[in-house]
């Protein structure tokens, strides 16, 4: 176990360095130049005066080769913990992400919790009633939840309640500190929409794994011992069935993050996803690289934690 953890930990910096190179280089290929955009913006106020392009490039640090820019970027991250400044408006990216992180985090965590609360009991129920009408209905429902695009459901929620009852989701962010209930109420709908895909996937996984553990010898032994159905299902079957479900939930994390971009766009939530979309449109390279790096590091760490929870959940698994 110890050696395994050390080896996994050693791989993390390698993966993060590779990821940082990819995200740094990738955005630089986006056509359209931030300097052009800035010049176009200040040209009217400058009148006929010639704008010194080289000076702007120098100020933004874009006048040196890409590998030097990458070196500077990494140096600032390591020594100062700074992700640099946005090209447009010179905002500190780390603090900008820090401001917006709570919104995305709250959305993602609530989506996850809602997904888990719904999917595990329903999946277990469908498994112990296999091939009955409720099982068919719940299975179809699970696939439906995977198939419904979150952006459609989101749009429908914006449209129809306002037509039928004149109700529409709030457009201003309610701070948790000011109105905790209002804040949770505001995030509830987007989180449910974000959690739909996850709910369907983990519902199916729970059902499939329950079917497997319900057929194991130890389950039969438990029946033979005359234990009650509740004890057998919860203590013998479910406990063993949940291990792969944990992996699936961990694997869904990148999808939750990707989905949050669309959900934030629809429900007008000022989270990281919106920041990314704005930055992409403005060709603001450092923001795009910074966000991708933060998300990727987050995913890498969560994946490691997911792997380690195996050993904790299932004492039979030993890492070498």
């Amino acid at each position: 176990m110890g050696a395994y953890v050390v080896r996994r930990l050693l791989w993390i910096p390698v993966t993060v360095i590779l990821v940082s190179m990819v995200v740094f280089l990738l955005v630089r290929f986006i056509p359209g130049n931030v300097v052009d955009l800035i010049i176009a913006e200040i040209q009217p106020s400058a009148g006929t005066a010639v704008i010194d392009r080289a000076a702007i490039e120098h100020e933004l640090g874009l006048d040196v080769p890409v590998y030097v820019q990458y070196g500077r970027w990494v140096r600032d991250i390591v020594t100062k913990g700074s992700l640099g400044y946005s090209l447009n408006g010179h905002r500190d990216i780390a603090s900008e992400i820090g401001h917006r992180l709570p919104v995305t985090l709250e959305l993602g965590v609530m989506g996850l919790i809602i997904g888990i609360i719904i999917s595990i009991p329903v999946g277990v129920y469908a498994a112990i009633r296999q091939d009955t009408i409720p099982d068919y209905i719940l299975r179809s429902l699970a696939i439906l939840l995977i198939s419904v695009p979150a952006f459609w459901i989101g749009t429908m929620i914006m449209i129809y309640p306002s037509i039928w009852w004149g109700w529409s989701p709030p457009m201003e962010l309610i701070q948790f500190g000011k109105d905790p209930l209002g804040n949770i109420g505001m995030f509830l709908l987007p989180a449910i929409v974000l959690g739909t895909g996850l709910t369907g996937t983990s519902m199916r996984m729970t059902r499939a794994m329950m079917l497997e553990t319900l057929r194991q010898d130890y389950t039969r032994t438990a029946w033979a011992k005359g234990l009650s159905e509740r004890v057998i299902v919860i203590r013998h079957a479910m406990k063993n069935a949940l291990i792969p479900v944990v992996t699936i939930i961990g694997m869904q994390l990148p999808m939750i993050i990707g989905g949050s971009v669309i959900i934030e766009q629809i429900f007008v939530l000022p989270g990281i996803g919106r920041l990314l979309l704005e930055a992409l449109n403005q060709r603001d390279y450092p923001i795009v690289s910074g966000i991708n790096l933060v998300f990727a590091t987050f995913v890498i760490i969560v994946n490691l934690l997911v792997d380690l929870t195996y050993g904790w959940l299932d004492p039979r698994i030993h890492y070498q």
Partner: protein, 322 residues
């Protein structure tokens, strides 16, 4: 019990051989999986709608009727028109073609890539495997939708671009599934014996490994189509997908739909409904297929495995023999 139980099974196998792999699969799907059959019907309907779009659609996909802008549903325009007076129903029908082309092509590409890379990585092992798996690690740790968005804004909108992007990224992701299937197959005795009699690695990969991993490949392919259609719609929804004018359900939902959603909610309702129906059908079909192809999901022994009906059948057959 066992001797009585086995006889009908053997007979069934002989029957299967005569029908061939794929037709047998379809027959079993229809017989055993009503939900999967429903999915298959939806997929076939969708395919035909896509193929025969120009005969089915009452108007052309970009036929503009400026007088009838934002027309309500009527006998002339069954689902109404958009802000340029284009018939919504016709655009939905052409949208089936766009979705099917992108879904099928992108998934075919990703299946090809994942199969080739998965087999090579799993079979070669050693340094090749280590290197490739670390690359997949890096790839999978980046939120894929963000990467797709970034890449699409680099290479620009277009059908070909979107197929390439979804296909390649999906291929890298699912190569891991294929690899683990290959590793499981590799340890079989027949692979070792073909190595012992001097088969070339290429022959072993093609003749011994590939046929044995067809089940995960087929499952990956069917389930991938739904995912690819969804990704295309998501990218088009954010304006990073198909070029303007091409009737993709995702872009119809975001351009016409969201812009005029208060006045004409049906412009947003129907594209999303078509999208859901298409992906739902494909996923139902893929799910049924997986149940049939994946040996781990077949029935076993135990209290929950046999339905009352099947148990009765078995008891009757045993009683008959006696």
């Amino acid at each position: 019990m066992t001797t009585y139980g086995e006889a009908p099974v053997v007979k069934k196998r002989v029957e299967k051989k005569r029908r061939g792999f794929f037709s047998d699969l379809i027959v079993r799907l229809i017989k055993e999986k009503p939900l999967g059959t429903f999915g298959l019907v939806v997929v076939i309907l969708l395919l035909f709608t896509g193929i025969f779009a120009q005969w089915l659609a009452p108007y052309g996909m970009n036929e503009i009727h400026l007088i009838d802008r934002l027309h309500a549903p009527s006998s002339q325009y069954l689902l109404g028109t958009d802000q340029l007076g284009r018939d919504l129903l016709s655009r939905l029908i052409y949208g089936a073609r766009v979705s099917m082309i992108i879904g099928l092509c992108a998934t075919a590409l990703s299946t090809g890539i994942s199969t080739v890379l998965g087999i090579i990585s799993g079979f070669a092992g050693g340094k090749v495997d280590l290197f490739w798996q670390r690359f997949v690690d890096v790839w999978m740790s980046m939120p894929s939708f963000l990467v797709l968005m970034t890449v699409m804004s680099i290479i620009g909108n277009g059908m070909f671009q979107i197929i390439m992007v979804i296909g390649i990224s999906g291929g890298i992701n699912s190569s891991r599934v294929i690899r683990s299937a290959v590793i499981a197959i590799k340890s079989n005795m027949y692979v070792q014996s073909s190595e012992a009699i001097g088969c070339s690695p290429a022959r072993i990969m093609m003749r011994h490994i590939l046929p044995n991993i067809m089940a995960p490949i087929i499952i990956n392919f069917t389930i991938g189509i739904g995912g690819a259609i969804m990704q295309e719609a998501g990218l088009s929804f954010l304006g990073l997908g198909v070029p303007p004018g091409v009737p993709s359900w995702g872009s119809m939902l975001s351009n016409e739909g969201r812009q005029y959603m208060e006045a004409k909610p049906q412009l947003a309702l129907w594209p999303g409904f078509c999208l859901t129906l298409a992906v739902y059908g494909i996923n139902m079909f893929g799910d049924g297929l997986r149940d049939l192809l994946d040996p781990r999901l077949r029935g076993g022994i135990g209290r929950y495995s046999l339905s009352e009906k099947r148990l009765k059948q078995l008891k009757e057959s045993v009683a008959k023999k006696q």
